[in-house]
């Protein structure tokens, strides 16, 4: 009997040692919605993970789960990371919002960071990037580069994030050419190279000589390259796939944020925050401006600098909606609340927003 007891005690000890042995080391967990090889959204988040490893070396251990479906599996995957001893967990897709909040309730000592959502808690921060700032810049470039005055926009889903991007793009373009036209195709997917390629071909066939996308594959740019028009990269630098067609790319730069938040946990200064950063802190980065005349590149750089300094705001009035009603007057700016829930087009978009 005693032997058995001793055995149990030593086993229990063994188990507890194995969990506290690496007490100094912070485990940082990541939940990805796609494969890390998508060369887009998840790929960029994974670059953030690598940057955290690079920065802190032995002080952190990173773990991740890829291809986590948004649904009942998400809660389990997040719980698993927390149970494995992760002290900081990044959940990198909108669909992980409710599961993150639910798991956070059960693990009050673990810090959570949820991307692109809006539900916060004492141990849940939210973060997102103001990609629309980049879209404003590429809108200006598009209007300068286009001979036809028509751009084709391959859109994924009519959520505020995407609608905001379309509006910012057109507002940017209209500063150069007030009659600039925008054709939109909703492909109803984030990622289907074939579909995206088809949409690009159709848009070019309909007279667009600029292709831009809010989907994740490199296919539209490849089509642009093949058909001799130009376009913009999405999420990561896609220059290699379209050396003559990519004018610039809007890059999601999560690495600095991930490093900073990891440092905060290590230093014990982590607090629940709401971060929505743009070009200024470097969460949105423009890749090299290329395949365009120097004066266009100079203009783009200037706009970029003005946005960074806060001199220029893409959603500054006057802004009119599609019905011609003024949404916001001269000199005023749309507030973040309106931007976050945006579900209307600005004047000039040649499309009806799917309901």
């Amino acid at each position: 009997m005693r032997k058995v007891f001793a055995l149990i005690v030593s086993l229990a000890l063994l188990l507890s040692i194995s969990t506290i042995a690496f007490g100094d080391e912070l485990k940082v967990g990541f939940i990805y919605v796609g494969p890390i090889g998508d060369h887009g959204w998840t790929y960029q988040h994974h670059q953030g993970l690598l940057a955290v490893e690079e920065e802190f070396g032995d002080r952190v251990e990173t773990i991740y789960v890829e291809n986590v479906a948004e649904g009942p599996d998400a809660e389990r995957a997040i719980t698993r990371l927390a149970r494995q001893g992760a002290g900081l967990i990044f959940t990198t897709s909108f669909g992980f919002m409710d599961p993150t909040v639910k798991v956070a309730e059960r693990f009050p000592d673990v810090k959570f960071e949820h991307a692109t959502g809006y539900k916060r808690a004492d141990n849940v921060s939210i973060y997102s990037a103001r990609f629309y700032e980049g879209r404003y810049i590429i809108g200006q470039i598009a209007a300068q580069m286009s001979e036809a005055g028509v751009a084709g926009y391959i859109a994924s889903f009519p959520i505020p994030e995407v609608v905001r991007g379309i509006n910012a793009f057109l507002l940017g373009a209209q500063t150069i050419n007030p009659d600039f036209k925008l054709k939109v195709i909703w492909v109803n997917t984030w990622f289907d190279p074939g579909k995206e390629a088809d949409a690009a071909k159709v848009l070019i066939g309909q007279g667009a000589d600029i292709i831009t996308q809010h989907t994740d594959s490199t296919a539209p740019l490849q089509i642009a390259e093949e058909q001799g028009v130009v376009g913009f990269g999405q999420a990561s630098d896609m220059h290699e796939f379209a050396p003559n067609a990519q004018l610039t790319a809007i890059i999601d730069e999560w690495a600095p944020y991930y490093v900073e938040r990891t440092r905060a946990v290590l230093d014990g200064t982590w607090e629940s925050t709401d971060t929505w950063d743009g070009i200024a802190p470097g969460m949105v980065r423009m890749s090299e401006y290329q395949n365009m005349p120097e004066e266009v590149a100079a203009m783009a750089r200037e706009t970029e600098a003005m946005i960074a300094s806060g001199e220029l705001h893409p959603f500054k009035g006057p802004i009119y909606n599609q019905d011609g009603e003024m949404v916001i007057g001269e000199g005023e700016m749309l507030d973040d609340g309106t931007l976050l829930g945006m579900n209307w087009y600005v004047q000039g978009v040649d499309d009806k927003l799917p309901e």
Binding site: P35, D192, S217
Partner: protein, 309 residues
């Protein structure tokens, strides 16, 4: 380039992989075997096609690898369903699952790489002919696989209808017991037809990773294998109608995009569901015509064959 020409070219690209995969599956089904693993064979073709083209810097190597690997996994299916006499529906699903996973493993090193120019499949260019406005680029300006897809379709139609080989295939699918009694080697015929289906599916996958969007991306077939399966039924197992169906499918899809680009507001979900609804509708319409279905339907489809000794 005129608008209509662009639309036609886009439809051809969209229809070609569907046609390739469907015509292969048609032959498999006409021999009495239902292979639901088209998606799996396609994705294996896509990854090996890209891998070979990238590694050897040659499009021909890519095409060859896509075919060989397509046949390879198809033979796996054949071994299970024909030699081990497993259930065809379940084996096909296993093949799809297996193919999607395996392609991901093989492709880990090829993700995010652009295909170098010599490894891309070039479009045909015949001086003068290709330069004819409109007809030129559509008829004389395609890549080799587009012509191959049409040639294979014609060849399959002719073989099935006019040759002894076709007769044997049809007999095998129609009534394997009588085919066996007549001295045909049912299992061997089915092995061959499954392999042919695999070659075509592999080629269809290769078309995606070499021509359609020249790169390797996980899950890049995105359900096209299932559509190919639907096309075979849609066609009531007639090669001619498979071609019509593939092009019709491509047209419906591209016109949906076209309408959107033209600013006609339709819920994209409705557009996306059109092809599926159209297939169901077509199935009903065609099935209503008993003559049409009776003629080509392989009566032994999906049934296992065990020779009486």
């Amino acid at each position: 380039m005129t608008g209509l020409e662009a639309v036609l070219l886009t439809i051809i690209t969209a229809a070609t992989p569907l046609l390739l995969a469907a015509i292969g599956e048609l032959v498999t089904e006409r021999s009495g075997v239902l292979n639901l693993g088209v998606e799996g064979m396609m994705i294996i073709g896509a990854v090996s096609g890209f891998g070979a083209a990238y590694t050897f810097g040659s499009a021909a190597a890519g095409v060859a690898a896509a075919i060989v690997m397509g046949v390879g996994v198809a033979l796996l299916f054949a071994y299970f369903t024909q030699t081990l006499i497993t259930n065809q529906v379940a084996t096909g699903l296993a093949l799809t699952l297996f193919g999607l996973g395996l392609s991901g493993l093989i492709g880990e090193n090829f993700t995010g790489l652009p295909l170098p120019d010599p490894a891309k499949l070039q479009r045909l260019h015949i001086p003068l002919l290709t330069d004819i406005p409109f007809i030129g680029p559509v008829v004389f300006g395609q890549d080799a696989l587009v012509y191959a897809s049409v040639a294979i379709t014609v060849l399959v139609a002719w073989t099935l209808a006019r040759t002894r080989v076709g007769l044997v295939i049809r007999a095998t699918g129609g009534n394997h017991h009588s085919a066996h009694a007549l001295g045909y080697r049912v299992i061997a015929v089915r092995y061959a037809c499954i392999a042919f289906g695999g070659a075509c599916a592999g080629l269809a996958g290769g078309y995606l990773s070499l021509v359609y969007t020249p790169q390797w991306i996980e899950n890049m077939t995105a359900g096209r294998g299932w559509i190919a399966l639907a096309l075979v039924v849609f066609s009531t197992w007639a090669p001619r109608r498979v071609a019509v169906g593939a092009y019709l499918f491509g047209t419906v899809w591209i016109m949906g995009l076209y309408a959107q680009g033209a600013g006609i507001g339709i819920p994209p979900q409705l557009l996306s569901s059109l092809p599926y609804l159209a297939t169901i509708a077509a199935l009903v319409l065609i099935s209503g015509n008993r003559l049409l279905t009776k003629k080509n339907t392989p009566a032994c489809l999906g049934l296992p064959f065990v020779p009486d000794r």
